[in-house]
């Protein structure tokens, strides 16, 4: 007891890096803490509703009418077309619903793959800190970070011309780097902990240590990073669609907003309102969810 922990630090401030036995209690604690957080739960409910919409579209239950053209162009909202129609007379409500599915596809694919890649490479780089492996991984994300994002996406889209996943691939290629950086930092801390040193001392193979002892202790970071990446992907999709680099042969909120950008000067706002509200509510719900998650999982975090 050479340094006295003050009572305000009684929080397990080393919790994220504690050995396995205590890790379960971290998750349980985080779970309990999260469910006391009103905003966290509300945001989770909102995200859940969006997810159900996306599932509904996948199952062809809702949003089925997104591409059919009715005769009236720019028809005002009615019982048939809740949010009106666009220039081609397509139903904006169904397009927005379909856009939810596209948003989840982009968000989930990019978030899942980018955080996995970032997590794995971050673990390896962190564990092999100060070796050539670490240098190479750092060099790789250093290079990617120094290329302007939209230009990179444009280049990838150009290379993969016609590939409907060009945008996804470009995002995955760039979004993994922030996760990698954070995980690497955490792993450098973890690898000096006693239980990792103990594993090393008894001769456990390095890669076994990395994936059995170190990786699980970064899962809380990956979870938070995944939600942040999800939001980033959805927001980037909007911009990329506007730049003509987004989803093809489909409809997304980004495409609706690009349509809107040429309509608003003519006083037609249906696309703008609908897509904006769909997009805004999902993004803010996800942002709040990410914050609550972070609060629940990381007692050290200083934020809202």
């Amino acid at each position: 007891m050479d340094r006295e922990p003050e009572i305000q630090n009684k929080e397990p401030d080393s919790a994220p890096v504690e050995p396995r036995a205590k890790r379960d209690s971290l998750w349980k604690k985080a779970f309990r803490k999260f469910f006391r957080d009103k905003f966290g739960i509300a945001s989770l409910v909102v995200v859940g509703i969006y997810f159900l919409i996306a599932v509904g579209v996948w199952l062809d239950v809702i949003g089925t009418n997104w591409s059919a053209t009715t005769d009236a162009s720019f028809a005002p909202p009615s019982s048939e077309h809740w949010f009106g129609t666009n220039i081609n007379g397509q139903d904006i409500r169904d397009r927005a619903l379909y856009g939810t599915r596209v948003a989840f596809e982009v968000g989930l694919v990019v978030a899942l793959l980018a955080t996995t890649i970032g997590g794995v490479l971050g673990c390896i780089a962190g564990y092999f800190n100060r070796t050539i492996i670490d240098e190479v991984i750092m060099w790789l994300y250093g290079c990617l970070d120094s290329i302007p994002f939209y230009l990179f996406v444009a280049a990838v889209a150009f290379v993969l011309q016609g590939n409907p996943y060009a945008m996804h691939i470009a995002m995955i290629c760039t979004f993994w780097s922030s996760t990698c950086r954070i995980v690497r930092g955490e792993v450098i801390k973890i690898r000096n902990l006693e239980y990792v040193e103990a594993a090393r001392a008894v001769g456990v193979k390095p890669l076994t240590i990395v994936f059995k002892h170190v990786f699980p202790n970064t899962l809380h970071i990956l979870l938070v990073q995944a939600t942040i990446t999800f939001v980033g992907a959805i927001k980037s999709e909007v911009i990329l669609s506007f730049l003509g680099l987004g989803v093809k042969n489909s409809v997304s909120w980004g495409i609706m907003l690009s349509e809107a950008s040429s309509e608003v000067s003519g006083g037609i706002f249906y696309n703008f309102y609908t897509a904006s509200i769909f997009l805004f509510i999902l993004v803010i719900a996800f942002n709040i969810f990410a914050d609550s998650l972070q609060d629940a999982l990381d007692p050290k975090k200083v934020s809202v």
Binding site: M1, E4, P5, E6, I7, Q8, K10, E11
Partner: protein
């Protein structure tokens, strides 16, 4: 020395609470003690017993929220610090009451020179001009036995050793002739040889400046050398107050005994292992009804488990135990 009828500092029924996720934790629970002018009092106890919180609360430095002074008075020269405004406290901090901290590595701002940080205090409280403040700072560094003080003033904290930094902290703390110095584990983070030097420095200056000192530590050795009086804390409560000699010679509270027994020392006969106090400290949010030490105490009776023993006073000593001695 002035008559000790009116103490320099008088803590009355002080209670400090922290809001935590799982409810309110009472880190310090209705404690009272006095400090005479020029007296050195040690507060000992294990980690989390509330001794540092007590020290911080005197200067009203408890982070708030989550902490707050829930009850009681902290009378300093008759003035209740607990009810002072923040503005009034700022005039007292570093001026009439100073504090030195445990970590000399992090307690000084790394991006400013020693001189800048020393003169800030002097200019603030003594209203000195920059040049005078600098001369005074040099003088203070000389007082704490730092060589070539002129040069040191322009150096940054990281250029100094741990012991030097702690000396700078002491110089800073004493620069406005405080009436009371609070030293929170001042030597814990230092090397053993440096520890002794720093304690010596504090003791020397305490006499020179005639100030009251509260020494927070878990090191009974430090207490034995420096303090006239000892306060033993356990789980937010004071369990024993006694003059140092008497406490070491004849501890009354079983916890104090346990503490004294667990000091490594040269003994006549060889022992297999150092005696320890069995059991663990109870959770501060889930305290037993009776004596907080009862579960670990060899003498505990039913009464101990039922009702908390209040601190009772006899002559110069106080103890909170049904079965003292």
């Amino acid at each position: 020395m002035s008559e000790t009828t009116k103490p320099l500092l008088s803590v009355r029924e002080l209670a400090i609470e922290f809001k935590t996720e799982t409810g309110v934790a009472r880190a310090v629970d209705h404690i009272s003690f006095d400090l005479a002018e020029g007296e050195t009092v040690g507060i000992v106890g294990e980690s989390g017993c509330g001794k540092s919180v007590t020290a911080l609360s005197i200067l009203r430095l408890i982070p708030s929220p989550p902490g707050r002074i829930a009850h009681g008075q902290i009378l300093f020269e008759g003035n209740d610090l607990a009810s002072n405004s923040e503005r009034e406290m700022r005039k007292i901090r570093g001026n009439q009451i100073s504090m030195i901290f445990q970590e000399p590595m992090t307690a000084l701002n790394p991006v400013y020179t020693i001189g800048s940080q020393l003169t800030d205090v002097l200019r603030l409280h003594k209203k000195l001009k920059q040049k005078e403040a600098r001369e005074e700072a040099v003088h203070m560094l000389e007082t704490v036995d730092i060589e070539s003080p002129e040069k040191r003033l322009d150096e940054y904290p990281h250029q100094l050793s741990g012991g030097m930094r702690q000396r700078v902290m002491i110089a800073m703390a004493l620069s406005c002739n405080p009436r009371l110095l609070i030293a929170d584990e001042p030597t814990t983070a230092l090397d053993v040889t440096v520890q002794a030097q720093v304690m010596e420095e504090i003791n020397k200056l305490q006499k020179q400046f005639q100030m009251g000192v509260i020494l927070i530590t878990h090191d009974l050795g430090v207490i034995a050398e420096s303090c006239q009086k000892v306060i033993v804390m356990y789980c937010g409560k004071i369990v024993e107050i006694a003059p140092t000699n008497e406490l070491f010679r004849n501890p009354q509270h079983p916890y104090t005994k346990g503490l004294l027994h667990s000091i490594p020392r040269i003994r006549k006969e060889k022992i297999d292992r150092l005696p320890t106090i069995p059991g663990t400290v109870p959770d501060i949010q889930n305290l037993p009804k009776g004596c907080r030490f009862a579960d670990r105490c060899p003498k505990a009776s039913d009464q101990c488990h039922e009702q908390y023993p209040e601190l009772t006073h006899q002559d110069t000593r106080s103890v909170a135990c049904y079965h003292p001695g």
